[in-house]
């Protein structure tokens, strides 16, 4: 169990700024873990390390027992780690369905010349993938919008399309960067429910960043708190809610409700 996913003493520096300092984390299969902290604490930077967009100054990333530190982004994705982005990054001028289908491309068995000449084997594969993409869209309540331009969807649906697209990677580990940012309370409640549903259907481990405390407290079994790149607390939601350091750093002393 110990070797499902592990971050070991990750440190990242941008010039003189230490964005993340000796960050370590274990994830067990099927867990939901939250990462919280004030703006600029280094949360997204941790995600960028995991997904390969940044190489850490020191420290290691282990996935299923293998050291994957510094591997290219697309390879890490292919190993089964998918992510969403804090500032939505869809393929705006492609349809909703196409957005999801891009995630299947790396698994395509047909060669480009088979695709180019539209051979039957490629067509079969394509239509199978299309129906699989539709299942993911259905999961997220977007199937009726499959032919729409992704860029023309309203904000909340764009966030959900990002989740559908990441889900289509069939990941073992799903990284969600502020999945309910900009949503109203009822929408974020729905999203929390949705993530629980998805975990029931797919073998997913979820690691998420979120500012919405209610959302994190409801959803996550374990929470880590970052402040100025340092881990200042770690524990169950109940423990975090009472931690004096967290109250001070994160909420300026106000109560976590």
């Amino acid at each position: 169990m110990d070797d499902f996913f592990k971050l070991d003493g990750i440190t990242v520096q941008f010039g003189g700024l230490v964005a993340v300092h000796r960050f370590s984390l274990h994830l067990e299969e099927g867990e939901r873990v939250g990462l919280i902290g004030p703006n600029g604490a280094g949360k997204t930077t941790v995600f960028n390390i995991v997904s390969g967009f940044l190489a850490p100054g020191s420290g290691k990333v282990y996935w299923k027992g293998n050291d994957i530190t510094g591997r290219p982004v697309h390879e890490i994705t292919r190993l089964g780690i998918a992510r969403t982005f804090q500032n939505i990054r869809l393929f705006p001028d492609m349809t909703v369905l196409e957005n999801v289908m891009v995630s299947f491309h790396h698994k395509l068995r047909s060669h480009f010349w088979q695709a180019m000449f539209g051979l039957p084997s490629y067509r079969r594969e394509e239509s199978l993938l299309k129906s699989e993409a539709m299942t993911y869209l259905e999961e997220l309540g977007l199937s009726h919008l499959s032919a729409e331009r992704a860029g023309s969807l309203p904000y909340g649906q764009q966030r959900r399309l990002e989740i559908a697209r990441a889900l289509a990677i069939r990941p073992g580990l799903l990284l969600l960067d502020e999945p309910v940012a900009g949503m109203n309370p009822s929408e974020s409640l729905e999203t929390a429910q949705l993530i629980l549903d998805l975990q029931r259907k797919y073998p997913l481990t979820v690691f998420l960043i979120e500012h919405d405390m209610k959302f994190v407290m409801q959803l996550c079994e374990r929470i880590k708190v970052l402040d100025y790149g340092h881990t200042i607390a770690e524990g169950t939601p109940a423990e975090i809610q009472q931690d004096p350091l967290v109250l001070k750093a994160y909420l300026g002393g106000a109560c976590v409700c």
Partner: protein
């Protein structure tokens, strides 16, 4: 299923129609008309393959003139007889083994495409290390390097003298055959999973990588296919005009291609075809402006190069007022037409 059959049938009908038109022109057309049609087809091949990189991948590549030059020289050097080569290379004799090789036209075209592809492969490593303006500058540099080499390698390219007296092997069947082939191959690629990956890279490369797409591998694929067809088109061009020299393959050629794909609509194969046809036709129609004009009260002397001024103005107008060009990113194919018709019938 029915719809697919219908589309295949309609595509077949279109091909037959094109065939008949070409047949009519090759039989009864004037030399002038045939020349315009040949130019059109070569421009179509070039524009469609250039658009694959610039339109679909969203890469500002400014060196297609290098591919065309390499293709033109390769195929010309391969079809010329040893005697012709000896006559052409008066300053320095041509190097071995080029002095003895002579192959049929079709093989020389294939070699033209492959040589251009090999060149594209070699430059792809520095080119795709960068993006945006830097990539534009790097490719512009390679385009210029090839032109300079054509000038300098006296014993390979005959330098500024160029190559003269190539056999006029290019005809309507060759030019349009290659044009149709390039259109079919490239639009099939675009509409496949590979095309989706390319568009994803264009839309947001960061997100594409996070979804498992390797940008280098895919940009390289597009770049190589584009280079192959540009090289073949270069070979066709050489055997159409029968005389080539380095001045044909300056940045101006790239600029012309850029006009075609921007006016047609970046990221639309149909747009590239329309752009190329308009350019070939416009280039001839606008010859008037370079001739002396008698307006009754004044006589304007002919100004050579006036056509390019007009084309450049046109490009500026399109960029200022209709940035998406004629087609935008949409295509005009039977699928689109049938869908429109369906909608008309069942409102």
């Amino acid at each position: 299923m029915d719809r697919d059959r219908l589309k295949i049938f309609l595509n077949g009908v279109t091909l037959v129609a094109v065939f008949l038109v070409l047949f009519a022109f090759s039989r009864y057309g004037t030399d002038y008309q045939v020349r315009i049609l040949n130019n059109m087809a070569i421009f179509i091949t070039l524009a469609v393959s250039y658009n694959l990189v610039n339109g679909y991948c969203g890469i500002l590549h400014l060196g297609p003139n290098a591919f065309v030059a390499i293709g033109a020289y390769t195929s010309a050097l391969l079809t010329m007889t040893p005697a012709e080569k000896q006559m052409n290379f008066i300053i320095q004799p041509i190097v071995w083994p080029l002095n003895v090789i002579e192959v049929p036209f079709v093989l020389s075209l294939l070699a033209a495409g492959l040589t251009a592809t090999l060149f594209a492969f070699l430059i792809s490593f520095p080119v795709f290390r960068v993006r945006g303006d830097y990539l534009a500058i790097v490719t512009l540099g390679f385009g210029e390097v090839v032109r300079v080499l054509c000038n300098a390698l006296q014993n390979v390219t005959n330098g500024p003298l160029g190559l003269k007296g190539l056999s006029p092997c290019t005809n309507l069947w060759w030019t349009w055959g290659v044009a149709v082939l390039s259109m079919v191959v490239i639009s099939r690629l675009i509409h496949s999973s590979y095309g989706r990956a390319l568009k994803a890279i264009r839309e947001d490369e960061t997100a594409a990588r996070a979804m498992g797409v390797d940008p280098f591998q895919h940009l390289l694929l597009a770049f190589l296919i584009s280079a192959f067809f540009s090289g073949v088109a270069g070979g066709l061009l050489a055997h159409l005009i029968t005389t080539i020299s380095p001045t044909l393959f300056t940045f101006l050629l790239t600029f012309n291609l850029l006009i075609m794909i921007v006016v047609g609509g970046l990221g639309s194969t149909t747009g590239a075809v329309i752009g190329a046809m308009l350019f070939a036709w416009g280039g001839e129609a606008l010859r008037i402006v370079e001739k002396p004009m008698d307006l009754g009260f004044v006589i304007i002397p002919g100004i050579p190069g006036m056509r390019m001024v007009i084309f450049s103005l046109l490009l500026m107008l399109v960029i200022l007022f209709a940035r998406r060009g004629i087609m935008g990113r949409s295509e005009l194919n039977w699928e689109v037409i049938l869908t429109r018709l369906d909608r008309l019938r069942r409102p």
